[in-house]
Symmetry: C2
Subunit: 366 residues, 2 copies
């Protein structure tokens, strides 16, 4: 990074610290698109993290997540808290329109200067959407928002992973979700801190809530889950070791347990939303009191290191290196069976490694 | 690889070629778990690929995918074709029980020596579940199965990606899936070659089929999709270039188009399943006649190279390298903010790159 770029970055960070919205937007854009200097920015912001309460909200399409989020935001605003909403759509780069719809549905709150709403649907970054989402959440945390709500549609593992990177993970269902919830129950149980049956003025809401409560009593929930969010890699033994982590002040059996609540809401009318707000506050207090916040932080740090290692290696092969050119020139040989994908991959990986190992030191900019 | 291991591998491949089921199971196990020598095996099998018709089947939980797959398998067996079924559950490592249930539900076909059924739910490989599934499909193709059916539950992007790596991708819905399909329509349209409304004896089946057909007329379907399955990386410009690929024998506008059919079935009674079999045959014939099979093959080869590069780099950092040890020793510093995840990641990536670049040549074994 030359002196001019360095001065630019310092000015950007000063504006960011002064609370300037354009600076926030620019930092998010640099981070989300992994543009030059993104690692420097994230490294500079790193010491400021940890103040915001990060809330992940997921659930099947049509569960009313956006309406519920908007209702929640209104209540936080009544308490004069500043709230950021990150709406993530990992399902398709083509459904951007739906998110835009949500944004409009959020109506007046989008005009409130104490509220920041951002949609993310790109799959363009080499770190993947999950990592981008976490890094954008970092930026919002560092900017000073009291609550950072990450809302993601769907009930696949990737959607859960995104929501589960929060301090508090909320799964929203509707009375009609029976089949899907049944099929997903194990994964959902492991990932959630709070269940909400929305549209509870519809038939079957009571039964749905009761069934969820019963399932929860058969499981121990997130506290014991040993499947980290890291993409596709089983680091569970590692995660187990991490969980043993530093000696706890109180032995595990004396720590207060978190009983996962099952709430009922009608987001359209606001019914039940104050109770949801209360449960979120209680969960946050429990995280602190139990020491779980520290454990989750430690585990998230480890995940972040793994993701960043992978991204760094991939960027060297595909963005900074000649990977695409080598692949392109090998396509005919590949198609006619003269080489295998494994031969071509070995060459590209070897080139990337050589370039990375010849860097005199850690490069100063992303 | 020493001489003993080399002889073992040769013996394994001979048994595999002779059609021995234990050899097939062993090769799959080595590939799925990325055990020593897995790359050698895949490289050795590579020239034998391309005979099988690979069929991807996906859809929401409860759509009757397993019952429909079993019905399909029975019809293929009546034609004396050999069929392999790979049942993939990317949603959770905890729902293995459900897959076991499916396997039992497949009942008598599981006992037929012309049928092979394999469940995959592990997230343990460094290449991820999608890559493992494709490599296991390769093994089954090389073994000589006429059809390799990959069945995956869910409607998230990852599930679609797995199904979309097939020659023919089938999306199964039920009359009640309205909302989910609505939300997912863009992604589904792009990924599918065939829609099936199963449980069509229920109310709303006609309407569902009609709505799907109407949506399909508004889109051009998979032929034009430019979002490759590669995990999280936007190689779409690359994919565009690849699609231009070799000069086509006939210009695009003269190639026969594929009109995505919307079929109705009742898997429990077998109603509509022969029509589905027929549509699958027609799609396969179209792939050949249109030149689309070659284009998809080329695109899949490029995806495979990218995935293998990423896996090779990650394995060097985490499996063959000291990544976990470095991370472990940095955890306290990370927790107390003395280093950032970006510092630690730079060190691990640098170590991995150095080790990889110092390898005298491409290692002979996986």
């Amino acid at each position: 990074m030359d002196a001019g770029a360095h001065a630019d970055r310092a000015a950007l960070l000063r504006a960011f610290d002064a609370g300037a919205r354009p600076a926030l937007a620019r930092v998010i854009s640099i981070v989300e698109n992994e543009r030059a200097g993104f690692r420097d920015l994230l490294t500079a912001l790193h010491p400021r993290l940890g103040r915001a309460h990060r809330i992940g909200i997921t659930g099947p399409p049509g569960a009313g997540k956006s309406t519920l989020t908007a209702a929640l935001v209104r209540l936080y605003r009544e308490r004069d808290e500043r709230v950021a909403v990150v709406a993530v759509d990992p399902t398709s780069p083509f459904t951007g329109g739906a998110l835009l719809g949500d944004r409009i549905r959020m109506g007046e709150i989008a005009l409130d200067p104490g509220v920041f709403i951002r949609s993310m649907a790109t799959r363009g970054s080499l770190g993947g959407l999950a990592l981008s989402t976490r890094e954008v959440s970092d930026v919002l945390d560092a900017f000073g928002f009291d609550r950072v709500i990450v809302e993601t549609v769907g009930v696949g593992q990737s959607e859960l992973d995104i929501a589960a990177a929060a301090d508090t993970t909320v799964v929203i269902v509707v009375p009609e979700s029976g089949d899907s919830v049944q099929a997903m129950k194990a994964g959902l149980m492991e990932a959630s801190d709070l269940f909400v049956v929305n549209k509870s003025d519809r038939p079957g809401a009571e039964r749905m809530a009761r069934e969820l409560s019963q399932m929860l009593h058969l499981r121990l929930g997130r506290a014991l889950r040993n499947v980290p969010a890291h993409h596709g890699v089983d680091h569970s033994r590692m995660a187990d070791r991490l969980k043993q982590g530093p000696p706890a002040a109180t032995p595990p059996e004396e720590r207060p347990a978190w009983e996962i609540p099952v709430l009922q809401t009608v987001a359209e009318t606001g019914q039940g939303v104050p109770g949801m707000l209360d449960a979120l506050d209680r969960h946050r207090a429990w995280l602190e009191a139990s020491g779980e916040r520290g454990r989750r932080r430690r585990s998230r740090m480890a995940d972040r290191v793994r993701e960043e290692v992978d991204r760094r290696l991939r960027r060297r092969a595909w963005v900074e290196g000649r990977g695409d050119a080598v692949l392109q020139s090998a396509l005919d040989d590949l198609e006619h069976g003269r080489v295998t994908p494994y031969d071509v991959a070995a060459r590209i990986a070897g080139d990337a490694a050589e370039a990375l190992s010849q860097e005199p030191e850690i490069p100063p900019s992303g």
